[in-house]
């Protein structure tokens, strides 16, 4: 089946305290985003890619492509106000027929080709897959209603049941296109939630502890350490 990867890097990353959005920050000797892109081409050299970037950084994206990915199938799309909008913009560039679409956080730059292939293979079977890892900590669930003293009560969850969800979230392209016709809802924090809304079941594959999201300055340092361990 044809493979599409929508790399969502539409945020401006203000939490990093840097003038550049985090997806363009340097990790070792090159932009973080280039590691993400490489992992997908390593998994599937013939993959079609859509990079979703902040409107002000489209040119920087063009430069990144020209510097390292000429001849590769990469298109750009503009990020929107929410993640849902950004994915929708990326999705508009894809062709849903007989295809599988990965949606991946641009700042999860340590994703491996092995995980990408694992997601693909499971999706061929089941249609909708997210990678996830078990939680190491005890987990409590906050009730939404506060008690009379204004305190939210919590309940412990069996930690064997709790999964921390990563990306690439991977789907039959037609399911994803169909789901993204829905009007935006606040609980659509990831794509699986949108697809699930259409009555589809989500399968899980084992994620990777190192598949972290770079959001804080310390995460860049952690990512550097992980890279050193790999080489």
């Amino acid at each position: 089946m044809k493979k599409w990867a929508i790399i969502v890097a539409g945020g401006s990353g203000l939490r990093m305290g840097q003038p550049l959005p985090k997806q363009f920050l340097m990790l070792a000797d090159r932009p973080l985003l280039s590691y993400t892109i490489d992992a997908f081409f390593q998994a599937y050299p013939d993959i079609h890619m859509v990079l979703v970037l902040p409107p002000d950084f489209m040119e920087m994206g063009e430069q990144l492509i020209q510097a390292g990915y000429t001849g590769k199938n990469i298109q750009l799309a503009q990020g929107g106000a929410t993640r849902f909008d950004s994915v929708k913009n990326g999705l508009a560039r894809t062709d849903p027929s007989n295809a599988i679409v990965f949606v991946h956080d641009g700042v999860r730059c340590l994703v491996t080709a092995a995980l990408i292939r694992r997601c693909y293979e499971k999706t061929v079977e089941t249609g909708a897959v997210v990678p996830a890892i078990a939680a190491n900590d005890s987990i409590r669930l906050r009730s939404l209603a506060a008690d009379s003293a204004g305190v939210n009560s919590t309940a412990v969850l069996n930690r064997d049941r709790v999964l921390l969800v990563q990306t690439p979230q991977t789907f039959y392209a037609e399911w994803l296109h169909e789901a993204f016709m829905l009007p935006y809802q606040e609980q659509f924090t990831d794509e699986a939630t949108v697809v699930e809304q259409m009555g589809r079941s989500i399968s899980i594959v084992e994620g990777e502890e190192t598949n972290i999201k770079i959001t804080r300055p310390i995460d860049l340092l952690i990512a550097e350490r992980y890279l050193q361990q790999r080489s």
Copy 2:
């Protein structure tokens, strides 16, 4: 109120692939456990401490105390087969009258005096406190029953409701003593769960992102980076 800290370091830390249990591994220039101990004495110089250690490492614990903590109120207790047993052994050394007890993971060595004080102050008010932080990832809850195809289904959780629980878990000493008279149950993965079983409510204070549990080799490197950032 009198303050007791039970530092639970009864594990032998085989996941680290090292001959020493992880609580004795070096972080920068000294054993990881000494950072943990220091944080509690920094928060409350007059605190009474019980170090729960693996049976084979009691002597190493004695040496650690003699090298850096003579004149401090530190006792040793022997770890048990489960965390519940280890805490129970530590608790046996404490005096429950008019006291507050912290139970802390020895390998959460980056805990700050500020967090310890925050836990104490809230416990004075409410009797049972855990520090917790919000989850950054989307969370799914696996159902315990597999479907006919042997696949466990999952459901998405509102991530604003999910809290990752840390330590020190902090309690009125009498509540904790009373709770630890219960027979062991498998779901007692932390102390709050035990106390809750007695019908007590658990309060939450804001934890710290850096209050990580050192369980894998990479965590030591991450902890080093955090330390560098602090100094």
